[in-house]
Symmetry: C2
Subunit: 162 residues, 2 copies
DNA sequence: ATAATAATGTGATGTTATAACAATTCAATG
DNA sequence: CATTGAATTGTTATAACATCACATTATTAT
């Protein structure tokens, strides 16, 4: 298990091939479990997303799909992204209109995203403490939470070596 | 001081005129303090936003500006919104691509938004607890926070009378 | 083989936001 | 008051993000 304890923000030189291949493998498992099909198109979209740890816009993904003469339309990408999000394989960052691969798919997690202003990397926090604190604060105001968008910008440890 | 203790989610029948006029008055004060000009255009945009407690898209605001034969362009609205956001009078909801009036301008607050799925109302939480919890969770991962986007959906007390 | 369902192809369109440059208004100064 | 520099607004075009609607193809179950 080479990457089970990857650093939270993988440093510039890390062996990214493993990140990507692990993500694809996990996706295959999850789709099988759910009786869904990880088609070639969907897999190519997922692979494009996993080219790095930075979020990609839908049209960035499209450009990668069509790099070698492909003729896909935006709709194809959005449909694949919807599928991947339904399966918890990809998240959308509302503050960026961009998409990022999920680092712990399968887990039923509440996600908070840490977005580095400097290198653009995104890490996925799954802090139950944050989740619960939000729930409590909302409840105090009589508000019953159904979903949370938490996106934090700042400087990651690779860019902020303090 | 008629509205200093407005309910967090103002109920359907509340005297909204006061909400709006208080917001405009506060805006005038803040602009004076900062030596900025709350021009007619900017004020009209702010008034449009304060027609209610639901977020409005930029083009919704534009439609209101142009209701009576106006000929404003989108750019005018976006520029006014930029000004109002710079002055802490308006917030943008990233998850909705929409804008909402700030309920406590002037205060230096970290904002979290509660968005009702049912009636569309938005309330602005300013929970220091949430803010600090996020900061701690991020710090544990070596991440230094500079900004936070926290947008929660669910059911407000007016729609969820439990 | 067939029929039902799922997935993809395709073109048009809708929605949100910004770029670039011109014209106007405002406010400070001599 | 006239001038001038800065701020604001006007205007046109375009970029960036996302969905609709309908046709076609592929997959699966029977």
């Amino acid at each position: 298990m080479p990457h089970k304890h990857d650093p939270f923000f993988p440093p510039p030189g890390h062996d990214h091939r493993s990140c990507a291949s692990e993500a694809i493998a996990a996706a295959e498992t999850i789709c099988q479990d759910r009786g869904s099909r990880l088609t070639a198109l969907r897999q190519r979209v997922l692979e494009a997303i996993w080219e790095g740890h930075r979020p990609l816009g839908a049209y960035d993904i499209l450009a990668r799909l069509n790099r070698n003469g492909g003729r896909n339309a935006p709709m194809a990408v959005y449909r694949a992204l919807d599928f991947l999000m339904d399966h918890g394989l990809v998240h959308r960052l509302a503050s960026r209109n961009a998409f990022i691969g999920c680092r712990h798919p399968g887990d039923d997690h509440s996600a908070q995203f840490l977005i580095c202003d400097s290198c653009g990397s995104v890490a996925e926090l799954a802090s139950d403490d944050v989740h619960k604190t939000i729930g409590r604060a909302a409840a105090k105001k009589g508000f019953a939470v159904t979903s949370e968008t938490v996106e934090i910008t700042g400087h990651c440890p690779n860019c902020n070596p303090s």
